[in-house]
Assembly symmetry: C2
Homo-oligomer: 346 residues x 2
């Protein structure tokens, strides 16, 4: 019999609530013969406040034993900016070499968008996850004085760029429209930009069926609000990916339905799946959070582990649930989770 050994990190704020529903739907969709084991880890602001720890070597060793990780949300206004981001979220992405940061954007029927005219939106962003301006390289001299200088170094390697570019081409090749856009700022960030552009063009030769285009990140924000239907697969750098995927989430139904995967395609380390939204302390504990983004992250998790049919059942259940929301009274976090669990089981 098969097994799925999952690390669960509920985290802070609404994290616990949405993860509970994610697991509910996961249990409901998994085939009978798959033994689901979950182990909860108490990472995040609570633990940081109590112990000063964010993510230790022992924690990483423990997480390594799992097939995958499901995360709710990490963060709390009481923790200084950067501590949990650098000390937990990014530390985990780097330690487990999560270089493919996968963020699909699909505007589902019945879902509100801030854009006029309900455009067709269905694309996926492959954001590089272990390089660029996120490496933490840089520093500060003369801190706090009028002569302070602070630097941030974006580090880009042929190895790191080529593997995500390849991943993105393979994803584009597998989709009906077979389109791939590289987003960068190669007219200003010429060193990194040329590396990205050259590798993109080189790998493109191996994928003659994929139609490619290049777009500056500033122009891309315009297209994301004026012609979002033009995108199929996007590949981009870590920081540009951070920015455009929030915009993409906003135009395709909001961060309430935006899922993401921090993927290590080699399988050497477990991949991590999480909603794009944060811990939303203002609504925590009130049953108001929408667990849909977490449930969709569970679908990404299942697809990553080869449970394609089950992932598809979740996607269909979410589509059906969203399509029926219009005009109905708002449901609680667990009501939405219950409804989705029923749908995937049926």
């Amino acid at each position: 019999s098969r097994s799925l050994n999952l690390a669960v990190i509920p985290g802070d704020g609404i994290g616990q609530e949405v993860v509970t529903e994610g697991l509910k739907v996961l249990s409901a969709v998994l085939p009978q013969d798959v033994k689901l084991e979950t182990k909860e880890y108490d990472f995040g602001a609570r633990r940081y406040h109590a112990t000063g720890e964010t993510l230790t070597d022992a924690d990483l060793d423990a997480l390594k034993q799992h097939d995958a990780i499901l995360l709710g949300a990490i963060g709390d206004p009481g923790v200084p900016s950067g501590v949990l981001e650098r000390g937990f979220l990014l530390k985990l992405r780097f330690a487990f070499d999560h270089h493919v940061n996968l963020r699909p954007s699909k505007l589902l029927p019945g879902v509100a968008t801030p854009l006029a005219g309900q455009p067709e939106i269905d694309f996926v962003v492959v954001r590089e996850g272990t390089e660029g301006p996120y490496t933490g390289n840089g520093g500060t001299i003369r801190k706090g004085t009028e002569h302070e200088v602070a630097t941030e170094v974006s580090v880009n390697t042929a190895f790191g760029v080529e593997r995500v570019v390849r991943d993105a081409f393979a994803r584009a090749q597998a989709r009906p429209r077979k389109k791939l856009a590289l987003i960068h700022k190669n007219n200003v960030l010429t060193f990194a930009g040329h590396l990205w552009t050259n590798i993109f063009n080189k790998v493109a030769e191996e994928f003659p069926e994929v139609t490619t285009e290049y777009m500056h990140v500033d122009a891309a924000t315009i297209y994301l609000v004026t012609q979002p239907e033009r995108f199929d697969v996007i590949v981009t750098d870590n920081l540009f990916g951070d920015i455009i995927t929030d915009l993409a989430a906003a135009v395709s139904g909001g961060i309430g339905v935006a899922a993401s995967g921090n993927i290590n395609p080699s399988g050497d380390f477990p991949s991590m799946f999480e909603p794009v939204h944060g811990s939303a302390p203002d609504i925590a504990g009130q049953g108001k959070a929408d667990p849909t983004a977490t449930v969709l992250s569970v679908a990404l998790l299942l697809r990553h582990l080869g449970y394609d049919a089950e992932a598809a059942r979740i996607d269909e259940a979410v589509s059906a649930d969203l399509a029926e929301r219009t005009g109905k009274p708002a449901r609680s976090t667990s009501e939405i989770g219950d409804a989705l669990a029923v749908r995937v089981a049926g």
Copy 2:
């Protein structure tokens, strides 16, 4: 009698067409006693193709003699990416220390926006113009090999940050709503982020009437499409400013009406004013370009030089012209320029 000694850089593509209309409106609005002198400079792709030059020391010496610079657009698909950006546009911004890159966004009545519900948009972005990831610091080793490493260094100084933050606070203080948002990514880019945040908080103490907020750049893209009315003045880094001002232009009527000023508030060097749009080679020479962004850039230029009443007349003329467009057949570049010239004169 007064004089206005203007350097005019039409540039490439539609640059010539829109600049002609900008100058038409400028002549029409200027008081009789102001002697307008213009000198045209042939910078851009044409000159680069002909001579290999982008901007020489002699060019800079010549430009220095002027009160201000009006630029149309620079760029041509035949020039490798980065050559004119680094060799002309950014070289000029750095040489003349254009540290306040001013980009107003106002959704005028009658103007189409991709956003549903015609929100109220009226904010201005103060983008730092001489630091951050735009400095050109960085490099490449093992170029073209599988071991290539390319870096980009974002350089941020207390001096450079404080002067734009101060400029932004002063602008916020002078506006009715008196709100200022700092946009950065201080949870990831902690070195630069802390410098920006600390200086922002320090200067805030001198402006107790200004309401401040901090926002990560990724979250800012969400607010720009879901709640653009919340913004009044924004201050941000060079690269984040590049990205969010294109998005801001898109939601507030498109780059056809987006103006910008590259300002050196000290007056040691002439400031430069230009539409946000590019050279649009696909429609060049056909009289299809909308000169409105250039005309609004002329208004920014006039305001910078102290011609506040004249600048206001241009803004009003543009508002009136845009308000009457709906349902009318499209006009040519010069027809729009003529109409605006008549309005500002009357």
